[in-house]
């Protein structure tokens, strides 16, 4: 059982988390023409890195999305960051 650290709630059991997506995907502007390949890449293509990864996860009890950097082989977690902007 892995322990992930929610930036808002602290370290918690992996069962409280949901893998949302790889980090770095931006939704294309759908008010413009988008060719099918671009849309399919946005929807489906994955880096699926073996080793260090950057992913977006949701902590289900608090519903916050956050960024997690971890190793997909050793399962070591390097860091977690909130996605929302820090208050100025």
């Amino acid at each position: 059982m892995q322990i992930f650290t929610c930036p808002f709630c602290g370290p918690r059991d992996e069962r409280e988390f949901h893998f949302a997506a790889e980090a770095g995907k931006t939704r294309p502007d759908t008010t413009r023409q988008i060719d099918p390949e671009t849309w399919a890449t946005y929807l489906h293509a994955q880096r699926n890195d073996k080793g260090r990864t950057r992913e977006v996860w949701m902590h289900l009890p608090c519903s916050e999305l956050f960024l997690m950097e971890r190793d997909s082989v050793t399962m070591e977690v390097f860091s977690t960051h909130p996605l929302r902007k820090e208050p100025q």
Partner: protein, 927 residues
């Protein structure tokens, strides 16, 4: 002939226990295992091997025993595959050797051994192909298998599961583990020491004294020192695996037959003091009953005061063997020391061992104690990712590069002698780096000799011999994993604890490669077999997947509701004890003729608030929501980004910055997650808030031609309140949200009120309904009512491919100018294809039975092709004929066509219609 010594051991001679083995009565003592009691009684044959049914005795004294496996019955319950060496004896146990009949001693299948030459490794891959494997398989399956499972269901399979943590976990309570735990606890670490025996001490019991202190006192001193320093000790507890992020799985055993407690432990530091096991010597007939590990004999002598035999040939060259020889001699046994370097070696005798033949010398013996050296138990080390390093001096794999936060000490670290282990253990306990002590003795290798004569066992339980390894090498199954899988070496219930080292050494010798180059197979958890119930915990029966319960459940029960599961909720299916189908018909008819009350509380009530709420819901919904006025309600769809309909339902606007999403009952959690994910992606999460209030409110629907009359009775004003409006009002001084929406096609009101006030509202509605011959209806009747109107149920009348334009909602796809989730996916080739499945109605003539739900609509080709399927089908009591909904390829172009419905090979005709079968003009809505 008893082999029990008059004194000594850890057994309680004041508590004799009677039990049976293979039907024969025996006596042992409290503290015995089944194995030690049988050994003491002189019973030699405790089991049979898996393939050849060779008679087998004890090799080991604990978890490495490959032979003595028994079904044990106690208090009327039978437990399969109990290892006799780790099962502590209880009075009244009835043990039977598995896979034998009628007994281990006289086994009907013993004759199989005569044909062994044809049962070599992998023989089954080379035959049984003609005419078909399934012809041979049943017999082979009956021959295989160990214990039988008794079919009586046990009610006692709930196990405890707990979480725990500590600074330092010491695994193994032998001399090194005790010393390490004491040092750790005394240096202020929160220390937990575990040992899988019932008593601490490990191999210490084999020694008369440690540190010039009698052993029993030494152990007691360590134990009290650990506890005095705040350390904890768990005995009869096995660390069965180490998992990601350092989680240690502990199985804490209770009395026989009860489930072990699963402890999920996290330790900042783990000290591995798991000890070592003897490895067998490979020589002719080395599987005979009476051939036992040196370490096992030492355990039987020390713990159970039992000799392994009277006339003993000691075939070993370890210092431990010398110590044991002296002890056995002192205890009255006759011991002959034989150098294992002599060759050839062979055991003589059958069910009774007669002699050890070494070269040209014959040593009469009833027992051979053998050791090819010690192998550290490094399973957990490997689970955690540590590497192994080969040691030529010890002839063993030792812990190499450590995993995070783990240190090995004692015999697990290659220090096989207690005095040399203790210093390292203490330093390790104090968390002081310590070098592995150099071994005092070098172990001369005695590995299997390829090409040598006789049947020489490598894996006792699975009957893998040296010749099988040679065969695997000949056929090029030389990778250590191929060797294992082809010969089944190491795959028995001891998982190779005795067989892996000789097996890979044999392969190394055959190929002329060094042992470390051959490598080991992967060490997989669990370290010892653990019962499935341990993983189960309280996660059982109704708690497997707890149902959500309605606030009004007691009222529904009082009203005679038949409660059932609908989308994760326990809801009234219908009311009354009659035939369910008829009951639903009656309720549906009542709803159409007068009025009905329906508990719609599970309907989602997710509030979306904030200055950007409008833009957000407009983006989330397929339909345009931005134009919705406060106090108004709109029906719409949420889509996945792939364009499929994810949920349907109504959304109400309370004011400029506040919406309530009424999603499907079973979808509330997933819709909330969906909303949250989008809220935080590309939006300013400080300007949109999402709050799920579903279970704060109870919702009661009043529907039917007399619905208004019922609301009038409650003094709820329904004037100037058109369809798809919402009003925040109050009832009995409690806020009430009144919505006019209809899932039945009749005039309908949804009344939402604080859940604690729901019983009062429910009673008031029923009281008002009664004089009108109206009353409550369940989910079954509602399903009919909505189907009559062609209203879909998500997941039933749609599937994961359905897009909104398949359901007749085409406008936003063509016209909505702002982005929304799934927008681009509505214009792929597939989305534009002419053969999409669209929602239609199907009718059959009055008097015919309803079409089966799940029937397919097919082409009339010789080999019919599926065009879609019936998703909902009922008898409509109002129309007096069957109705059905279907997803049908190109369905909107088939209106009026006669189609063929196909169900399990039977066909029927039906006519394609619009989904709505009742009141298509909508006149009833404002009746």
């Amino acid at each position: 002939m008893t082999l029990r010594l008059p004194t000594g051991g850890l057994i309680d001679r004041s508590k004799p226990l009677t039990f049976t083995f293979d039907g024969k009565p025996h006596t042992g003592y409290a503290g015995d295992t089944i194995a030690s009691a049988l050994l003491a009684s002189g019973t030699r044959i405790l089991g049979r091997s898996f393939k050849y049914h060779r008679p087998r005795g004890l090799w080991g004294a604990w978890v490495d025993e490959p032979n003595a496996i028994m079904n044990v019955t106690l208090d009327g319950h039978e437990f399969p595959n109990c290892l006799a060496t780790t099962t502590y004896l209880q009075g009244g146990m009835a043990a039977r050797a598995v896979n034998t009949w009628p007994s281990a001693r006289f086994d009907m299948k013993a004759g199989l051994d005569l044909f062994h030459r044809w049962f070599a490794a992998g023989f089954y891959y080379k035959t049984f192909m003609w005419p078909d494997w399934h012809l041979f398989e049943p017999l082979i399956r009956r021959m295989a298998g160990l214990g039988a499972v008794s079919p009586d269901h046990l009610d006692t399979y709930t196990s405890d599961q707990t979480h725990d943590r500590c600074d330092t976990l010491v695994i193994g309570g032998g001399p090194a583990g005790l010393a390490a735990a004491e040092a750790a606890a005394q240096s202020g670490q929160d220390t937990l020491l575990i040992d899988d025996h019932a008593q601490l001490g490990g191999t210490a019991h084999q020694l008369p004294q440690i540190d010039a202190t009698p052993t029993a006192d030494w152990i007691a001193q360590r134990q009290s020192a650990i506890e005095a320093a705040g350390g904890r000790i768990l005995t009869h507890t096995t660390a069965f695996g180490i998992y990601d992020h350092g989680l240690v799985g502990l199985a804490q055993n209770g009395p026989f037959g009860t489930a072990p407690r699963l402890i999920r432990l996290r330790a900042a530091r783990i000290i591995l003091a798991t000890g070592a096991i003897d490895r067998p010597l490979t020589f002719a007939n080395n599987d005979r009953p009476g051939i036992m590990a040196v370490a096992a004999a030492a355990e039987y002598l020390a713990r159970y005061a039992t000799l392994p035999g009277r006339q003993i040939a000691l075939l070993a060259n370890t210092p431990q063997a010398d110590t044991l020889a002296a002890q056995l001699t002192q205890a009255g046994a006759q011991v002959t020391h034989v150098d294992p370097a002599q060759s050839p070696l062979s055991a003589r005798g059958g069910k009774r061992l007669k002699a050890l033949q070494a070269g040209d010398r014959t040593h009469p013996a009833d027992t051979i104690l053998a050791s090819g050296g010690l192998t550290p138990l490094v399973h957990l080390w490997r689970h955690a990712g540590g590497s192994l390093a080969w040691c030529d001096r010890r002839n063993a794999f030792l812990p190499g590069t450590p995993p995070d936060n783990m240190t090995a000490t004692g015999a697990a670290n290659g220090s096989f002698e207690t005095d040399e282990a203790l210093e390292h253990a203490r330093a390790t306990g104090q968390n002081t780096p310590a070098k592995r002590p150099d071994p005092k003795h070098h172990i001369t290798p005695h590995w299997p000799a390829p090409g040598s004569k006789g049947r020489q066992w490598i894996d006792f339980q699975h009957d893998v011999t040296l010749k099988d390894v040679e065969l695997a090498a000949r056929e090029n199954y030389t990778s250590v994993e191929h060797l294992k899988r082809y010969t089944t070496l190491g795959m028995a219930s001891d998982q190779g604890k005795t067989s892996n080292m000789p097996g890979l050494a044999a392969m190394a010798a055959i190929q002329g490669r060094p042992i470390p180059e051959v490598g080991t197979t992967t060490f997989r958890p669990p370290f010892v077999p653990v019962p499935i119930e341990m993983y189960h915990g309280a996660h059982t029966k109704q708690l497997w997947n707890p149902l959500k319960r309605l606030a009004l459940e007691p009222q529904h029960r009082a009203a005679g509701a038949a409660l059932g599961e609908y989308g994760g909720w326990l809801r009234p299916g219908w009311y009354g004890k009659g035939d369910p189908v008829q009951q639903a018909q009656t309720e549906a008819l009542m709803a159409r003729q007068t009025a009905a009350i329906f508990d719609a509380s599970p309907l989602g009530k997710i509030e979306v608030m904030g200055p950007e709420a409008e833009a957000f819901v407009n983006f989330i919904y397929y339909n345009t929501i931005a134009t919705l006025k406060p106090g108004k309600i709109r029906y719409g769809f949420m889509l996945t980004e792939g364009g499929a309909v994810f949920d349907d339902g109504v959304i109400a606007r309370l004011d400029a910055n506040r919406f309530v999403i009424s999603c499907s009952s079973s979808h509330v959690d997933s819709v909330r997650t969906h909303l949250e994910a989008w809220r935080q992606d590309g939006n300013d999460p400080d300007r949109i808030f999402i709050h799920d209030t579903t279970q704060h409110w109870a919702t009661l629907t009043v529907t039917g031609p007399r619905a208004r009359a019922i609301l009038d009775t409650l003094d709820l004003d329904t004037d100037d309140f058109p369809h798809m409006s919402l009003r925040e009002t109050s009832w009995q001084d409690t806020p009430l949200r009144l919505a006019r929406v209809s899932f039945t096609g009749d005039t309908s009101f949804e009344l939402s009120i604080r859940a604690s006030k729901a019983p009062a509202l429910w009673s008031a509605l029923l009281d008002a309904a009664k004089p009108l011959d109206a009353g409550p209806i369940g989910v079954e009747a509602l399903s009919i009512l909505r189907a009559e109107k062609g209203f879909l149920m998500i997941g039933k009348d749609t599937d994961g491919e359905t897009m909104p334009h398949d359901l007749g909602f085409t406008a936003p796809r063509q016209k909505k100018s702002t982005p929304f989730v799934g927008d681009r996916s509505l214009h792929t080739d597939k989305a534009n294809a002419p053969d999409r499945k669209q929602l239609v109605g199907l009718t059959v003539p009055a008097g015919a039975p309803p079409l089966p739900t799940g029937a397919h609509v097919v082409t009339d080709d010789e080999i019919p092709r599926s065009l879609g399927y019936v998703t909902s089908s009922y008898l409509s009591p109002t129309l007096g004929r069957p109705i059905a909904l279907a997803l049908l390829e190109n369905g909107t172009d088939r209106m009026g066509d006669t189609i063929t419905a196909w169900h399990l090979g039977e066909t029927r005709q039906a006519t394609v219609t619009a989904p709505c079968a009742l009141d298509p003009e909508g006149a009833r809505l404002d009746a």
